[in-house]
Point group: C2
Chain length 251, copies 2
């Protein structure tokens, strides 16, 4: 493996470091074409395999994306700031707003599906239900600026769905599911979110149009009403490159 | 590309799905050897390239790791549960405890470095300092059960470090930096954490011994004292496969 003059760092990595620095500093920005293999070969006097390896580093880190027959492009996206506590505040849905309203971004929902299903054991546990009990399931995908950014599935216990029948409809009305729960005395008063990260499955890569080198974030959310009663359990899978998650809390 | 009998799913993906399900269900667990290429070829009547592709899927998802000359092994690790709000509670460091104490796991710190440095612009901004102003920097790596799980760097404004000189020492004493700040009236009363995920750089892959297909989580934390005064800014880079991050908050 060719190494640089100081003998310690492989040349492909030095070139990757230099290109990464140009992206981080903003000299190369979203949609810019990176220098091609031929340019890198000439500029640095290296073999094609070395040039390709340098570009692969950036693709694997999710900073660039290959476009077939055209080249490798910088791939950035102004991330959606998801404010854990503020967005789920009663102030928002209590006023009839959407929990997406705080994002100040254009968003769409598609692939909305409302049905009943026997959920996996961890969902039943989160909702305090016996296994094999069917729950109301609401699935949908969110897009921001036309780009798919998350798949989300909410589960509601049968007694909760029966108390607030409008949560079974596609359009749950102003303030959404939480506002409907509040109307029947089941307002969420507390939330727990658990965050995990991992690489996507092939199906998720397709659903969220993820290029190589893009991890996903799983958020598992439990909404609790008075008396610690779980009223909703949500599983959200996000394009990891599309989000900044913010949480504020007291010491 | 060979597809299954129903013609829609490539065979390598069906095999990967089956192995993933065995891992998720616990039938295959940490350290177990996955069936090798030869076994998969015989069992499913497929070519070596197809078998290799199935195994690559699991490696790329971070669920398995190749061991040279031996095979592909399931790679699991009981994740560290990092409880955003509870672990930074004044109850912990006010009593002289470590913010790691809530983990109930064996941990070590190594590569501790305390120095002064002119930080990057975003750090100066977070601490409300002019650019080019030097700050106190504390860097270290954490290991859990002998495995490196995070690199962490804390920055303290010069006035803060001057007020509580023990924060310059390697051993900051019971309750750590926050307890020392509290003694001089600079106790953190509020925290903001921002979470981002991405693939690691080559240097991070080495520092944290990350196998292929393992994303990292960046946590940027600001500790605020009374009057919204920023007293510490921390940047933590975690092995994404080693953590569950939990946040609890009111509606």
């Amino acid at each position: 493996m060719p190494t640089s003059e100081n003998g310690s760092t492989p040349v492909y990595r030095e070139i990757a470091d230099e290109l990464r620095e140009q992206i981080r500093s903003g000299r190369l920005t979203d949609g810019d074409r990176l220098p091609g293999e031929n340019t890198l070969m000439e500029r640095h006097g290296i073999a094609r395999a070395t040039a390709r390896q340098a570009l692969s580093e950036l693709i694997n880190e999710g900073l660039a994306s290959p476009v077939r027959g055209s080249g490798v492009y910088v791939r950035l996206f102004r991330p959606v700031r998801r404010h854990g506590s503020r967005r789920l505040s009663r102030d928002i849905w209590g006023r009839g707003g959407s929990i997406w309203q705080t994002q100040e971004r254009d968003y769409e929902v598609d692939r909305l599906l409302v049905d009943e299903a026997v959920p996996e054991a961890h969902v039943a546990r989160a909702l305090g239900l016996a296994e094999e009990e069917a729950v109301l399931r609401r699935s949908r995908r969110y897009l921001v600026d036309g780009r798919p950014v998350q798949n989300a599935v909410s589960y509601l216990a049968p007694a909760v769905a029966a108390a607030a029948p409008r949560v079974r409809e596609h359009d749950t009305g102003p303030g959404g599911v939480y506002a409907r729960l509040a109307e029947v005395g089941l307002a969420p008063v507390r939330f727990t979110e658990e965050i995990r990260v991992r690489m996507p499955t092939p199906g998720e890569r397709e659903d969220l149009s993820l290029p190589p080198g893009t991890p996903v974030v799983d958020v598992a959310r439990t909404a609790l009403a008075d008396g610690n009663r779980p009223v909703e359990f949500g599983e959200i899978t996000m394009d990891g490159s599309a989000y900044v998650l913010q949480y504020d809390f007291e010491a």
